[in-house]
Symmetry: C2
Subunit: 241 residues, 2 copies
DNA sequence: AAGAAACTTGACCAAATGGTCAAATACCAC
DNA sequence: GTGGTATTTGACCATTTGGTCAAGTTTCTT
């Protein structure tokens, strides 16, 4: 049921799965939502149960009723996040054209950063702590997943359909390029001189990432010709600066 | 003197700069070092003065004597970090060959992640909090710096020496690709199946990043020919998996 | 309707935390 | 040496924090 920690769902639970009315589900969801935001902004250590309770619009004791401890609530938040985490990589399958597959993957990751920045931050925060609750997930579920995707990429490479320096690091760097737009949104916004990152910025981010990675893998980005350096040309700017 | 916050150097300071013996300097340094580590692992909210004191091997009251408050100590840590932060970009100047300049820049950034992972984490942590203490730095010092480097890159592009989708996002993504090896070290180590990231892993990371970015900018990575896709070849793996 | 189970919540508690202080000690210029 | 300044540090304090609890209210089940 919970893949993060034995303490994730805690306390006085004896199989209330869907037995009880939906009050339970609704409240849990509300709390998880609030907790995600607070953990994202303050980290595990900086977040307070009172803060989360206020964000959720519920008395603090209520959180403890549903999740037992702060740790368990945190674990539940992580669990919630991980489910969505791996899915984007579904784009990478042997049958597809490498360029299309990678482009889709990158765009999906960027979209994820745009839609769920808090989730990304919580994950990042947990990594920086040393991932005490996710070590296992990383070393097994994620690792296996990566191995599978690496196999696909190496397959493409053997067929001469892609040129990749190091498939594993390629993935790491795609993750980095895309997650940065969630975790470092303030920095990027400040440098771009905008209040917050909007659709225009994310579009430019996606275009740049796709172009860099595809070219980087010896592929031609759709609609973006790659003239040989030496021929006169100007910066191919996208939507905005 | 301090660029982060008016409260960075606080309390009972009236210009002791280098007046007093070096006890002051030595202790401040020792505390800053310990604080950097603790803030990196726990974030601002999760770090405790007692924890930092223990890490520094000093009584807690001593930290308050030198830095006044937790906030001020944190600000001092950030300040310390920022100094080093911008320097790597010195590689990017108009006269240099774009390929060499970018490769140097990327390798310097990766090296920074390898040598000062805690600094990187503290910075990342501050960004995720919304950068309450660095908003100003980001919007001015960093922004100006970026504008300058973007101008250089656009200059190269006008001369047809480089093909870049969006210079600003190119920089963001180089930052991301390189910092990820500090901030997400546990994740990467777990996926690679190693205990910690060593020289071999950082070498592979650097090679991959340089290759991807240079090719991505229509440049040829030194020593790494880019065969046209379609020609038979195998994965060009570097040092290790 | 009635009993049971699920849910709510204000009041409370012990521990931890940031911060203060004053007494003691080390250091230094003359 | 001696007086003054800088440094050290244990003891102390107010506040915050995670967590508990028991008395109440609501919601199901039969």
């Amino acid at each position: 049921m919970d893949s993060v920690s034995g303490a994730a769902v805690s306390g006085q639970d004896h199989d209330r799965e869907a037995v009880t009315g939906n009050i339970r589900q609704v409240n849990r969801e509300r709390i998880l939502q609030a907790a995600t935001t607070v953990f994202a902004d303050a980290g595990f250590g900086g977040a307070t149960m009172l803060g989360i309770a206020n964000a959720a619009g519920l008395p603090k004791a209520n959180l403890h009723y549903y999740f037992g401890t702060k740790q368990a609530l945190y674990a539940a938040v992580l669990d919630n996040i991980l489910t969505v985490w791996l899915d984007a990589a579904d784009a990478i399958v042997p049958e597809r054209d490498p360029a299309v597959a990678l482009a889709d993957y990158i765009r999906a990751k960027i979209e994820h950063s745009r839609r769920f920045p808090q989730a990304s931050k919580v994950f990042a925060s947990e990594m920086m702590r040393g991932a005490p609750l996710l070590k296992d997930f990383l070393a097994h579920r994620l690792r296996d997943r990566v191995d599978a995707k690496v196999a696909v990429i190496e397959g493409w490479a053997r067929q001469g359909r892609i040129v990749v320096p190091n498939p594993r690091h390629l993935l790491f760097q795609i993750w980095a390029m895309t997650q940065t737009y969630a975790d470092f949104a303030v920095q990027i916004a400040a440098v771009l001189g905008v209040e917050t990152l909007g659709p225009a910025e994310f579009a430019a981010a996606g275009d740049t990432a796709v172009t860099l990675i595809l070219r980087g893998c010896g592929l031609t980005p759709p609609g973006v010709p790659v003239p040989a350096p030496g021929s006169r040309q100007r910066v191919e700017t996208a939507t905005q600066n």
